[in-house]
Symmetry: D3
Subunit: 297 residues, 6 copies
Amino acid sequence: MTLSPLEKTGILIEALPYIRQFYGKTVVIKYGGHAMTNCDLKRAVMQDAVLMHLVGMRPVIVHGGGPEITGMLKRLGKQSEFIQGQRVTDAETMEIVEMVLVGKINKEIVTNIHRYGGKAIGLCGKDGNLIEARKQLAHIQQEDGAEVDLDLGFVGRVERINPGIIETVIAEGYIPVVAPIGVGPEGESYNINADLVAGELAVALKADKLVLLTDVEGILADRNNPGSLISALEVGRVPELIRQGVITGGMIPKVNCCIRALEGGVKKTHIIDGRIPHSILLEIFTDTGVGTMVVPG
Amino acid sequence: MTLSPLEKTGILIEALPYIRQFYGKTVVIKYGGHAMTNCDLKRAVMQDAVLMHLVGMRPVIVHGGGPEITGMLKRLGKQSEFIQGQRVTDAETMEIVEMVLVGKINKEIVTNIHRYGGKAIGLCGKDGNLIEARKQLAHIQQEDGAEVDLDLGFVGRVERINPGIIETVIAEGYIPVVAPIGVGPEGESYNINADLVAGELAVALKADKLVLLTDVEGILADRNNPGSLISALEVGRVPELIRQGVITGGMIPKVNCCIRALEGGVKKTHIIDGRIPHSILLEIFTDTGVGTMVVPG
Amino acid sequence: MTLSPLEKTGILIEALPYIRQFYGKTVVIKYGGHAMTNCDLKRAVMQDAVLMHLVGMRPVIVHGGGPEITGMLKRLGKQSEFIQGQRVTDAETMEIVEMVLVGKINKEIVTNIHRYGGKAIGLCGKDGNLIEARKQLAHIQQEDGAEVDLDLGFVGRVERINPGIIETVIAEGYIPVVAPIGVGPEGESYNINADLVAGELAVALKADKLVLLTDVEGILADRNNPGSLISALEVGRVPELIRQGVITGGMIPKVNCCIRALEGGVKKTHIIDGRIPHSILLEIFTDTGVGTMVVPG
Amino acid sequence: MTLSPLEKTGILIEALPYIRQFYGKTVVIKYGGHAMTNCDLKRAVMQDAVLMHLVGMRPVIVHGGGPEITGMLKRLGKQSEFIQGQRVTDAETMEIVEMVLVGKINKEIVTNIHRYGGKAIGLCGKDGNLIEARKQLAHIQQEDGAEVDLDLGFVGRVERINPGIIETVIAEGYIPVVAPIGVGPEGESYNINADLVAGELAVALKADKLVLLTDVEGILADRNNPGSLISALEVGRVPELIRQGVITGGMIPKVNCCIRALEGGVKKTHIIDGRIPHSILLEIFTDTGVGTMVVPG
Amino acid sequence: MTLSPLEKTGILIEALPYIRQFYGKTVVIKYGGHAMTNCDLKRAVMQDAVLMHLVGMRPVIVHGGGPEITGMLKRLGKQSEFIQGQRVTDAETMEIVEMVLVGKINKEIVTNIHRYGGKAIGLCGKDGNLIEARKQLAHIQQEDGAEVDLDLGFVGRVERINPGIIETVIAEGYIPVVAPIGVGPEGESYNINADLVAGELAVALKADKLVLLTDVEGILADRNNPGSLISALEVGRVPELIRQGVITGGMIPKVNCCIRALEGGVKKTHIIDGRIPHSILLEIFTDTGVGTMVVPG
Amino acid sequence: MTLSPLEKTGILIEALPYIRQFYGKTVVIKYGGHAMTNCDLKRAVMQDAVLMHLVGMRPVIVHGGGPEITGMLKRLGKQSEFIQGQRVTDAETMEIVEMVLVGKINKEIVTNIHRYGGKAIGLCGKDGNLIEARKQLAHIQQEDGAEVDLDLGFVGRVERINPGIIETVIAEGYIPVVAPIGVGPEGESYNINADLVAGELAVALKADKLVLLTDVEGILADRNNPGSLISALEVGRVPELIRQGVITGGMIPKVNCCIRALEGGVKKTHIIDGRIPHSILLEIFTDTGVGTMVVPG
């Protein structure tokens, strides 16, 4: 499709009300999945972040990094074991996880943001004590029905966010890029789920919006029918939808993360399809639903 | 034309490099002609200004108001006489000129900017002594070849700009809208050509860009051929083009105004076609020429 | 009277306690009546404002403009009709009202302040959305005793003041001069009583003092006896004085305006005689009463 | 003489141009002589300083204290010896000089300024190392014509001014009051002529005006004719007037102090008659000469 | 003892946790007794203050001056009479007290702080109206058991602290040095106990610590046994210890001063032995008790 | 050795002049070698940095990481090849280098600083485009005497430092910790010698001091005699000492780095023995030489 210059400016003008609406607002984006591996999607996310920054928003990026971690562990001859979607993380694994997330993926994102005209600073939870963490046991129901708490090693939860450094770098015009590594009381590292970190950061920064990029369309009423997308989901309906098996598997923690953020004062939370290029902009600058918005109610 | 949301975000992304380039830059716009009388064009200019502001530019609007002034004078039974394109301005006319420009047109623009989501302050040259003026005699060549200086009444030229109030309101997030009325040593008002005021303001504000909206395509090498638009005109070629009759009539002072601004340190000057909607955005956000850029050289 | 230099400095020294008392205080002045038409009085008001500014006060001027508006309407062949002291204002009249107030009177005051050594910025309710207005119906008791609400056209009341731009210009050392034009939800203009605007501005700016310049001595206990001036009037006595016919006609809205300001937190309100030169300074810098102070109680 | 309130405001208005002219200007006042001992004059000087502060000037007071020092020395049974107008200052005398100047006179002035509605901070040259001093030998011509340098003890000259603390307290709205005590390299105190300190402070503070209060009318062309006051004295004429015996005795160092200040960038210097109440205000707020202005030329 | 450089840096490192703990904290020090007369102790206190400042604390010094005042009075042939430890202060005595405290001792301390590398400003209660005072009668039990209030002349108590000037000079990097002279409603001077001034200043400055330097080890459980030092004393135990004669004489007002400061929000109060060099640093930078800490409870 | 508390405070007082001297000064420290692997030395360096920060200095840490990189490469089965002391760095090696430096060592230092009471932010050259780099060819003299430029892969040199982010985090009270990874024009990573980065950062930050931690005593006049340490080395003597073989091998680039820093405006440069605990403090806070100071001359 070729647009005349005139048509193009028309599009810019259409974006005006949205730009106005989000001026000065903080948006925390959990960045992961296909959008991190596919080159075009990657570029699109970076551009989205830079554009958001330039039109006056304050984007904050929290990234995952699963596949690269697994790759590096393989190269070192280590098998990755997962329990309930969480990687069992012994000390050696933790070291690799941290090196890959902080030393590779985080800085790649920073470099790409610079490439598309923004300025970024890469941080992990250790910088300025950003993310204080504690060990998180996995609560497991065994085959015999008994419930046990399993120690998965250096798997953590957020104990406390110290957002000072984030606010400092935003105030200086940088986009903060955060690796989901927490720091324990003895200085030990913890591997934390990036969705959780994004949610807690959104609360600590009093963000207006939390956006979780996923590899699905959003929450489908009928999982076989892409047309059955639930555009807006009231928090009150969640338990029933879990019972009905509409919200299942990896989607459950994401929805819980949105609920937690809403309770913490975040205005709006979104689970969107990261496989669509510029899905973040679509969410912000158009009325088109590109996933499921989880709302209070 | 209907664009998918996806296509629309693509357009936004295309604008990224331009947004980046003009971030924080001051752009003085002379607003006049059809763009002030046609409703759609009017709205488009307001939207352009608001968008420019939101994406980090610092637009300043200087407006004319010829037709409305003539209209009001007619209602009061006064004839308008023009010499060399300048209105002969006796005291009574000056009073009307000022009332219409400052009390009507200026505030209408302010109101419209608010309507499209911006914030604006209307000013004239008396506010904060913004535009100090002196009487400007018209230099006329009579039929017998003799040259004389005619007194056209309260027609003025810019003696000095005190840009403090403009900088104050920009710093507070307002778009300044300036009526081209200057103030003389005794507090008397002067009617000044809006192009001239825009040019001098651009110099005083160390603007990056001066944009003059006109009712023509720009400067045409062959005035009968709209395809003969001169996209970029080096200052050095101007005298010859005037001799050849390529630059004539009302275009001459506009070109001189650009030259004066370039000499005063303004980076780029543009004479663009205000009859095209969003021509300002087109100029800034696309590579498409929508008029003539006057450049040093 | 010729004073020796020594005697003059004595006067300055006498003013010391008053200067100290009002240092940094905001004073909103409704400027109108004879003080706007008589040349000497005009100059005196300008000088008062400049002096107030220089000795550390923050004067804000709200002006009326009745006679000039009527004059211009006449020149255009329009009759002015008044109901209960308010001008019936059709669209054409509104246009003229606005042009005269904003484009003529407002800027004349600005120019005069500069002349006497101050710096001023002229504003109307449209600038920075300063005065949001709504249509004000006139509540009329007909001859048959029935009460009706009459639509007087573009006659408005203050819905909301956005004082940001006033505070900005004061902070930069300018005296704000405000034309009592409000802006409606659709961008339409409203003609608002200048006393009302002054009162609401005083409340919004948390002013210490509201001064209404009038063409009478103040409130007289006996209207035929200028010596019967009521220097201080407690709010609680107002209803009775209206019943007794002591407060009548145009004085009633002025007194109500003072009451409204006191309720809104303004410390002191004054209705003073604008026909006395420098009556504002007299009010502020001497113990002499030059009118009626309306006080809580 | 009783003035009507109206006449009084007229005086205030007359002061307007002077207030405007000196707004924000620094004026260093050497305060001494009768104006320090006569109660009425004392009060007048304090009021002048407070008024200057309130109308936007930045007064700085440097005081002497001769008579009180002599009095205290007498109470302690010490004789005061003077050589060329300078007190011979042994260690014990220095201790008394400092106690009287810093612990008595300085704080009395501070208290009086508070009494007349200002805020003041008393400082000596030791505070913040304000006045670094060195020993000053007296250059004497003996009876036999030989020239010798006499050591007068702790008599000093200004080596260097560190004006930081003065600027700090002015910025916070205090009037600085300075005792002319300097501090030597070993922390020892020096007694410095107050005129000299005032002159050097004026230079260091880039003051606009230096005012030396004296007990004479100014410089008289004919010392027996008070009507022969030289209102303005060009620096170039000084040597001749000294030769002619017009400028003699204690006036010579005062004139030299003015010359030094002018060379250091002070705009105007004045030697005025401190015996006239409010002579400082007279000098600043009227065109009347109350002494001799020493000017470049 | 000679330490290797290595051992020395070890000491610095040991101080780290204390430096961290007191970073940015305000500490008010009552400076008096032997520490003011012994040269080595004097130097040590100055060094302590400068070091505290350099490592980020905000020390404030309040000084006494008894012996020097008595000395000067003697030189002037005046006897000092004391009632309940307070000097009977007639007008002449007050004049001498003020001159010695403000004009001699205060500035000596300032000079010494500069000598050891700090910057200081000397102030008394008159500067910026720092200490507003009222006359303090002495409550006396006569021999016949009757209680009377004796007028001791210009002996005062603190009515109100205006700490603005203290905060100003601290913010600019100076150490404030305060002479305990208060100013009464008529500008009269009052001699106030320095402990009381220190306590009230600590409250007004929301200090973290109040340190009273004394000439004893602290509070001893058995006054004949220096080993019986009470390191920490709960406020609740004070009345009993007074009854038992453990806290007696001049220690009673010091303990009361601590209690008052604790009630006013000061975190910790200390009565320490000023005869030990660097006792202030010892108190702050080591775990060693060098006196009695009075604590809530 | 046990010191009494008194002796300890004596040591603190001895440090006073040094603390004063370095107040507010920027010190760039190249941290590497034994000091990074030995636990006690590691702790000592962290404590030194925190202490420097608390006493008002602005330390900046640049770290190496050779041994850990080699270890990780080994675990991945990659051999490390060195040419002229520089690691041949193919793309895979670069990835590992970056992960180890940025994702492991850098964040360990950050965590340790927090542990010893400071606040730190870990950065690499990609953050905020801190270190722009270009490929650095190795200039080699072959056995046959021919000189060639060898491509060692992603080995870089500093093209340009953008110190903004460093200044931002220092201003907010953080200690910046920098990994010596540069970013090329295409976003590619470069491995840069940490000494070089430290030197260039010192220049860009206008640092007062550059400290290079090494594993030797400094420069020895006679390499077999530790007592022959050259405490101060003038730049002019360097070429001769290289010719004489006194400065050899890895010391040559270190000395060159000091020279470059001195030329760039750094005041003092030091090559010190990192094997001595607290050698940085020793250098700053004592007169003892703990290595070689390279000075202009």
